[in-house]
Amino acid sequence: MSDLSTYIKNASAAGTEVATMTAADLAGKVEALALETCSSTALLAGFEKSPELLAAIVSGLQKAGVRIVNSEEAALADLGVTHCETLVADTGSLSHDSFGTATLTASLLPKVHLAVGRPVNLHPDLKSLLAANAQKMPARLALITGPSRTGDIEATMTKCVHGPGRVIHYIIDRPA
């Protein structure tokens, strides 16, 4: 099994909704998701170096009538869209860090988190991810494995406590 299929299997088991697609499909998929989740505002983070993905996401959001908010309004956003290229296969985790822009808050505050990106840094395991960061640890390095959840009331698994209740990952794994 390739690392990517391992990631997809484990992330899905943890509750992340994973889909693979071409960059050309992205705008349509984002539009459909925005409508499905009834999002009226979105917060975007981390796309500085991927203008073509950013353009596709913005176009999809606009078609769905979603207003894009800046970081001052971060707390109000319905949908958080982050650029994510770092994955860990054996835990099914996606990873964000504090280098660059505010992917940490955009992946945390809204009730729905959409991660989009090519699997550029696909690590087989956590050890490999940490080894890649050991020389220069970012101030914050977060692993995200499925939605926010709790079992604190009668051990009943319930989603969307403080973080997002849904985590969706669009992996761009083929050329357009």
Binding site: N10, A14, S71, A75, T91, G92, S93, S98, F99, G100, T101, A102, T103, L104, T105, L108, D125, L126, K127, L130, A131, N133, A134, M137, P138, A139, R140, L141, A142, L143, I144, T145, G146, P147, S148, R149, T150, G151, D152, I153, E154, A155, T156, T158, C160, V161, H162, G163, P164
Partner: protein, 458 residues
């Protein structure tokens, strides 16, 4: 029923059927999930052997590892403080609160902060510390203490939580579990956005990089380490591990043992404050490395208690815990690990009967991801307590001094012959309820008779 002590508290707990049902249900569920997750590893024994080897080195080198951690965390921009006790943590809080005008804190679940009574320390510094883990939030609202180290509100069912939220948060009383979670999210979101500081424990402290690793499922750990301008970490020095490469192994042992997850929803690794060019995270990170008796434990016969990952698996597997619930321990640390750790931290005088709360069935050791010899430790601690106890010492003294022994027996005979026994304890009452205390006869004792016979008088 009155009385302090474990037996009285346990007796009170077993009268509350709702509590017992809630405890049994959650403990059983966690136990089954753990079993599946540990089974999924395939090489649990090898893994815990490796983890034990690492912890053995950690416990033997606590000082130097703490220094390495402090150096590297400082290099990353954090301020590291060493504290011997909760009092020193309190003094630091007072200073920080005064200098930086800190009023409102959000807090993640942390056993170490429970251990030092953090809420009162914060209060004394003029800081309101709001618990943000759902379970901890519930018991803070109810003014209770946690009853499980992983699931602190395990003793409350949904109806009780619903009533509590209705009274304190003004939400409808008939919300289901999802509605209750949403109510807590909305209430706490405001507080997160307005908090001056975030308070966390640390599941692991990585010496090599000065990193604090936090494990949460709800996301409150990420909120607490991202939103407020200052982060305050309190972690025991037993949480140190040498390198980043050691972290994955410990993480998976912890989450699989605690909740049966291969990894928690979130793992947050904090290495210093926000750096130039970064937009997330606090401007200041303070890390308190707490000793509070740990160095003494490391040097004593119970050193393996410092291997503990605080996963709670021993609680879920303990027949005594499952029968009486966590409050009977009257300690932040209940269950098998608590029966050992509580007397080690606060003294046997404070918790004399906890080593008795054990059937020696051995399930805790089997379930423990670090294979801590908890049943042996119960026995060892019992021996230690008995050696200090008054009654056995009195017996030993009498038995080693024949003159004193004869004198004491003669006095006891005199008292018993008068027919009044000046003892009024529950143990004595329980004993005499079913048995008659034999009265000494009127005639001479054997010794007196023998003495007279030798003198030719009998």
């Amino acid at each position: 029923m009155s009385g302090r002590g474990f037996p009285a508290r346990a007796a009170r707990a077993t009268q509350d059927e709702r509590v017992l049902k809630a405890v049994a249900k959650t403990a059983q569920l966690l136990l089954e999930k753990r079993k599946a997750a540990i089974g999924g590893l395939g090489d649990f024994e090898e893994r815990r052997t490796r983890a034990r080897e690492i912890k053995e080195r950690v416990v033997a080198n606590l000082d130097s590892l703490a220094q390495t951690f402090a150096q590297n965390a400082t290099a990353a921009g954090a301020k590291v403080h060493f504290a011997q006790s909760g009092r020193e943590v309190g003094a630091l809080l007072v200073k920080l609160a005064r200098e930086r005008n800190l009023k409102l804190a959000v807090k993640t679940k942390s056993m170490t902060t429970e251990e030092i009574g953090f809420e009162e320390l914060a209060h004394a510094a003029g800081i309101e510390a709001v618990e943000t883990d759902l379970g901890e939030f519930i018991i803070q609202l109810a003014h209770e203490k946690p009853s499980h180290i992983m699931a602190p509100a395990i003793h409350r069912d949904r109806a009780q939580v619903g009533q509590l939220f209705h009274e304190k948060l003004g939400v409808p009383a008939d919300l289901g579990v999802e509605g209750l979670v949403a109510a807590a999210r909305n209430h706490l979101r405001e507080i997160f956005l307005n908090a001056d500081l975030g308070i966390t424990g640390g599941n692991f402290l990585v010496a090599e990089t000065g990193t604090v690793a936090l494990v949460t499922n709800e996301g409150n750990g990420r909120m607490t380490t991202s939103l407020p301008r200052l982060q305050f970490v309190v972690a025991g020095i037993d949480k140190l591990i040498p390198t980043l490469a050691d972290l994955p192994e410990f993480l998976t042992l912890l989450t699989r043992s605690a909740s049966g997850q291969p990894i928690s929803s979130y793992v947050t690794m904090v290495t210093g404050p926000r750096k130039q060019g970064e937009t997330d995270g606090p401007e200041e990170v303070h890390i308190v490395l707490l000793d509070n008796g740990r160095s003494t434990i490391a040097a004593g016969p119970f050193w393996q208690m410092l291997y503990c990952l605080h996963c709670g698996a021993c609680l879920n597997h303990c027949p005594v815990y499952r029968a009486v619930g966590g409050h009977a321990w009257s300690s932040p640390y209940p269950g098998p690990m608590g029966s050992i750790l509580s007397p080690l931290i606060w003294g046997l005088d404070e918790y004399p009967e906890l080593p008795d709360a054990c059937t020696l069935c051995g399930r805790c050791r089997e379930a423990c991801p670090m294979a801590i010899p908890l049943p042996d430790y119960h026995l060892k601690l019992k021996e230690k307590r008995n050696a200090r106890a008054l009654l056995p010492r009195l017996g030993a003294t009498l038995a080693s001094k024949p003159g004193l022994y004869r004198f004491a027996l003669a006095r006891l005979r005199g008292v018993l012959r008068k027919g009044s026994v000046p003892i009024e304890t529950r143990a004595y009452a329980n004993w005499t309820k079913a048995r008659a205390l034999p009265m000494p006869g009127e005639g001479p004792t054997f010794r007196e008779w023998w003495k007279k016979r030798k003198e030719g008088k009998a």
